[in-house]
């Protein structure tokens, strides 16, 4: 599903370049549940951004479902993000002015789904994450766990094959975090490929594969258990 070959990412900072990722090669099969771990500054967020088509590698090849990502235009990348990838962020990143339902509908707006159909597709997803009775609530009226569940519903609304979660439980209490993780594991069992960036060893322990990064390199890539 995903083939990263010799991915390098450098940032120009004043006089010299800073290498954030160097020579990352990685294959991800459909249906995997992967944890990416590493200390701060190890490049795991940058790797996530590249996999999520939010950023381009400085060099190397990125193949997503047999399409070369590094050669795509901005608009094509936007379309890939829209249809193929779901994002779950540490800080939820819901749009504050919109209701839970409207938030879930946002990706459908950009794939040109008419507004009546959007509702029909967004509502069942909110039911599925247990927020059927909170659809008209604004994010500020929801708890952190509830907001993250809205974000998961939003990530799933276009039925993407890949879901990227960047510290999804980082801003949650342990009980809510556990609920969120359970939802992600259940989704993986239904066939969605999931990559989680996390500090939390307990979360990583529940993933099928753990990749450890340090100083922009993969130092360990192992199947769990």
């Amino acid at each position: 599903m995903i083939k990263l070959a010799n991915i390098t990412k450098t940032y120009r900072m004043g006089a010299g370049d800073i290498t954030v990722l160097s020579d990352i090669s990685l294959n991800v099969q459909g249906g995997e549940l992967i944890a990416i771990m590493g200390p701060s500054g190890s490049g795991k967020s940058t790797l996530m951004n590249i996999i999520g088509c939010l950023d381009r590698p400085t060099s190397g090849a990125y193949n997503f479902e047999n399409r070369e990502i590094s050669a795509m235009t901005d608009d094509e990348l936007a379309s890939v993000r829209n249809v193929k990838i779901g994002f779950v962020f540490q800080t939820f990143n819901l749009l504050p002015r919109f209701s839970a339902l409207k938030n879930v509908e946002v990706p459908l707006i950009y794939s040109g789904v008419p507004s009546r159909l959007r509702r029909d597709r967004a509502a069942p997803l909110l039911e599925k994450v247990g927020l059927g009775d909170r659809m008209q609530h604004k994010p500020t009226e929801l708890s952190g766990g509830q907001q993250q569940r809205v974000a998961i519903a939003r990530a799933l609304v276009n039925n993407p094959p890949l879901l990227l979660a960047d510290e999804p439980t980082g801003n949650l209490d342990s009980r809510s975090g556990e609920e969120i993780l359970n939802i992600l594991i259940r989704l993986n069992q239904q066939g969605v490929t999931i990559i989680i960036v996390t500090h939390d060893k307990d979360i990583a322990a529940q993933c099928k594969r753990i990749i450890n990064l340090k100083d922009g390199r993969i130092i360990n890539d192992q199947v769990n258990g």
């Binding site: 999520g52 901005d74 608009d75 993000r81 962020f89 002015r97 990706p107 950009y110 040109g112």
Partner: protein, 402 residues
Amino acid sequence: MNFLETFRVAFEAILSNKVRSGLTMLGVIIGVMAVILLVSIGEGARVYITKELTGLGTNLLIITPGKTSTSGGFHPPSAGTVRKLTYDDSQALKRRAWLLTEAVPLVFGTGKIKYKNMGRDTMLIGTTPEFQSIRNLFVDTGSYVTQGDVDSKAKIIVLGTKVKEELFGTENPLGKVVTLSDARYRVVGVMRKRGTSLGMDLDDIVFIPVTSGQELFDTDGLFEIIASTPRSEDVDRAIAQIKDILIRRHAHREDFTIQSQGAMLSTMNTILGVLTAVLGGIAGISLVVGGIGIMNIMLVSVRERTREIGVRKALGARNSDIMAQFIIEAITLSGAGGIIGIVVGVGLALLIPVFVDVLPTSVSAWSIIMAFTFSVAVGVFFGVYPARKAALQDPIQALRYE
């Protein structure tokens, strides 16, 4: 992402910050209102003057003694006269200039008219019977100055309604004798009521035969000759004819000036057109200032919503979607401001003449269309920079933005 959806998103963004949006729109509202109001005042003045000048009678030519080098505009009646215009000149024109329907000799000035113990300073015109038709001023009761009166220098007088009311009240003035600068005149008629035109009260005038007028003002010349030609296409040829005849009578010298009403009208139109454009331009500046206000607020809005932009991009918004969202937001602000401004501006323009009767206004469709188009254009122009700024945000930076 379809247009309607973008529009709805923009509208929600505007409604979510009502006070700020309202204040931003106020700049455009005032600008559009000012454009419409000032242009309608300028247009009103133009329409009013055109109507009044045309109301004096169409295709008029005014011949005054003395040659002035400029063309068009107004001239004092006695500008360095070489040879006076005479009653005979007017008769010669009437006889020989076949393109003219009339050539009316005129003397005019002010005089004190007295009846019993009542007295009044009034405008006095000495003329011939044809004056009635040429200036659209007609007698109501009694009779007007006749050719016989002119030939015999008769001491008869026709009163404007205001003069009649002031001197006679409800009394029938016909046949009564009034004193005009120590000479006694018999009232033979009262004019039809006409009202004010171009600041001149047409009812506050008395008419006497031109020959009696010359005697009264102690002159053998005329102050002007008003000629008329039936068709506006003939104006230029009529002018040539008048020149031809008068130059021959004036020892081959062109010592008179001919103004056509059309030339006066177009001069006035030009002046008032420039005035309107200047007024509209000044108002336009305030519209531009309103546009800068929109740009300012849009820049703030883009900064505030950096994170939203990042989220939308992560969820699949293309740069053009983000750009459209912010431009449409700016256009909605300026367009809504434009519509409110039009309503207020047109409302005021219609209201002003009700309370201030010296200020006629005329709301023209073009000023509305122009003001609205301009306000939307202001939205586009001042919205593009902030929208572009929004669209080109790096999604990763935008997502990290606090």
